[in-house]
Symmetry: C2
Subunit: 354 residues, 2 copies
């Protein structure tokens, strides 16, 4: 390990914020020393609770995040925030204009805010976000919030790296909950209907609950009704629900209402987050989620190793250049060339001399 | 090759549109038979001219595309269009609301329009778009248009897979051309300032030209002035430019103006596209671009092979599960586990028994 990296780790462990910023940069961009740095931080990872917040543009995620940070600070927790925004390659600005600057908390030394742009290959973004969260975790933040604008599967993948994922919706985000894609239903641990004073908010909350019930229908389950009145009284449903409430193996996402612009509903949201975290601990799901995170991390490192070992190798590139003539003439196909390349690259791929 | 795939290839080669749609689906989703299908189509790929069209939301790309398709049809060319739109996972609809349906050309049998959503992993999207373009190429379309909303690097990567890339901008797309990111300047073969009747259009065109000059400044180059009057007369610049105009090795992106809503400027745009294609052929750049495309395709197949061979292997998964305990306890790191996994996976990765 280079001496400069030793010094960085020493400063990092001493809690110096400049060292934190440098470590995040190295990890975010996979700069030289990234492997060694992550290896050094690895034993310190795993203490923080991670909260993912996602939703469509304009749902008020940033406002909700801001309020959550304030509440967590009042409870004495330190908070790291990773905000993942898609930026336009044409204007350099935020694509969706959704970011509310967190001015009220930006000067608090117990809060660290890091923006990550969805520039570069999106392929690895969820992996890199998880790694930056690892750095904040190792630094000692009690809570880590990962906020993403839900513009695609990648953003859902990012939110999924958290322990608890909150999906923020607004009445106007769709004519009907029917349009919510399956991926969203799968990742949400808690639903928030923000702008709850607008027309359609109650209907949206009801629709989400019904959908949760439908999705669980074949397993005999029905949605719990946190915070909304169900329209019809159904004794069978209520009995089932009561039974499930005692079963720590099941979690039914609550559907909460907030009016973030007035700060309303954030206390209930934080209570639900805390309840979900206890459920994760009790049921063993926390361990499961963290193991999935570690597994994905190994898979990402493997993919990156393979990429670097093959394409940084001059001989492989010379060989491939020679194959391009065959590809152009139609005598070979990308599949036959890829198979041949893998066949001849054993020592390169394994890192073991033949 | 399964019999059903033989039948599909026969129908495809007979020019049946249902076979085209099925082939595109198989390739887009990498369904069973995708390898064999692409292998069969490979010799027929390479005849079509590929045009990429990108730009920020609201620049009028779809209208420009629509007009280009109409003009190409009038010239007797068949046209395949691939429209890549980001869709919201929350509403299922187009994220940026930018798509103008191409009703006027949709019923023309000489036109095929395929929408690809940026769902699923964005990582492989540019590779898959290039593959779908290969399918349209093999089917016999003379021209293929790949239209993407420029929401990130991925969209630029997609546009880059074309032979000629047109970047469509509008006066209001930014306060200043200074905000255009480097990636955009690199991929543009032709700039179009659409909505040329709006305030700021001339200024934007001038700014782009100046920027092109600055970027080439160190190489002694200056921008050619296609379609705009430069503000100052500079004899050295004009002499240099004249010298370069005769050099088929150099291409200076022209900056054109259009008012797509009135159909103005499309003829000049198509002339520039034709000129660029002749330049690509004369300079050898066409061959170079197509070789890069083949190279990227091999790299994508290699990455997918590695992924499938490792993670579809039950033994590897069992082994990794056992490592997770060490990862959790901090006795191992994702890097040490990845390295060990690659060390022990030689036969699996190469496809050759040890």
């Amino acid at each position: 390990m280079p001496q400069s990296l030793e010094a960085l780790v020493a400063d990092f462990e001493a809690g110096k914020s400049a060292a934190l910023a440098r470590a995040v940069s190295i990890v975010e961009n996979h700069r030289a020393g990234y492997d060694e740095l992550m290896t050094r931080l690895h034993p310190h990872i795993g203490r923080a609770q991670r909260l993912g917040i996602t939703g469509p543009p304009g749902a008020g995620k940033s406002t909700v995040t801001n309020l959550i940070v304030q509440s967590l600070r009042q409870e004495g927790h330190t908070v790291g925030v990773i905000a993942v925004d898609p930026t336009s390659p044409f204007t350099g600005g935020a694509l969706l204009g959704d970011r509310v600057r967190m001015e009220s908390v930006a000067l608090d030394p117990g809060v660290y805010i890091r923006s990550m742009a969805t520039r570069g290959s999106l392929g690895g973004l969820s992996a890199r976000t998880a790694e930056v969260a690892d750095v904040l975790d190792a630094f000692g933040f009690d809570r880590i919030i990962i906020e993403t604008v839900g513009v695609g599967q990648t953003e859902l993948d990012i939110a999924r790296t958290a322990d608890t994922t909150v999906v923020v919706l607004v009445p106007e985000s769709g004519d009907s909950i029917q349009t919510l894609k399956a991926g969203v239903m799968e990742i949400a641990d808690i639903f928030v209907v923000n702008k709850g004073d607008r027309p359609g908010a109650d209907r949206l909350r009801n629709d989400i609950e019904l959908m949760l019930g439908l999705r669980r229908g074949s397993a005999g389950g029905v949605p719990a009704h946190h915070g909304v009145q169900l329209k019809t009284f159904n004794p069978i449903r209520i009995a089932r629900e009561a039974a499930r409430a005692e079963d720590p193996e099941r979690w039914t996402p609550p559907v909460l209402g907030t009016i973030a612009s007035r700060g309303e509903g954030i206390d209930l949201l934080l209570a639900a987050v805390a309840r979900h975290f206890r459920y994760l601990e009790m049921s063993g799901a926390l361990k499961g989620r963290r193991r999935i995170r570690l597994r994905n991390q190994v898979a990402e490192v493997v993919a990156e190793r393979v990429r670097n070992r093959l394409w940084d190798d001059p001989e492989t590139n010379v060989w491939l250049d020679a194959q391009l003539d065959l590809l152009e003439s139609g005598a070979a196909t990308p599949f036959s060339v890829a198979d041949e390349l893998l066949r001849r690259s054993g020592p390169l791929l394994t890192g073991v001399d033949a």
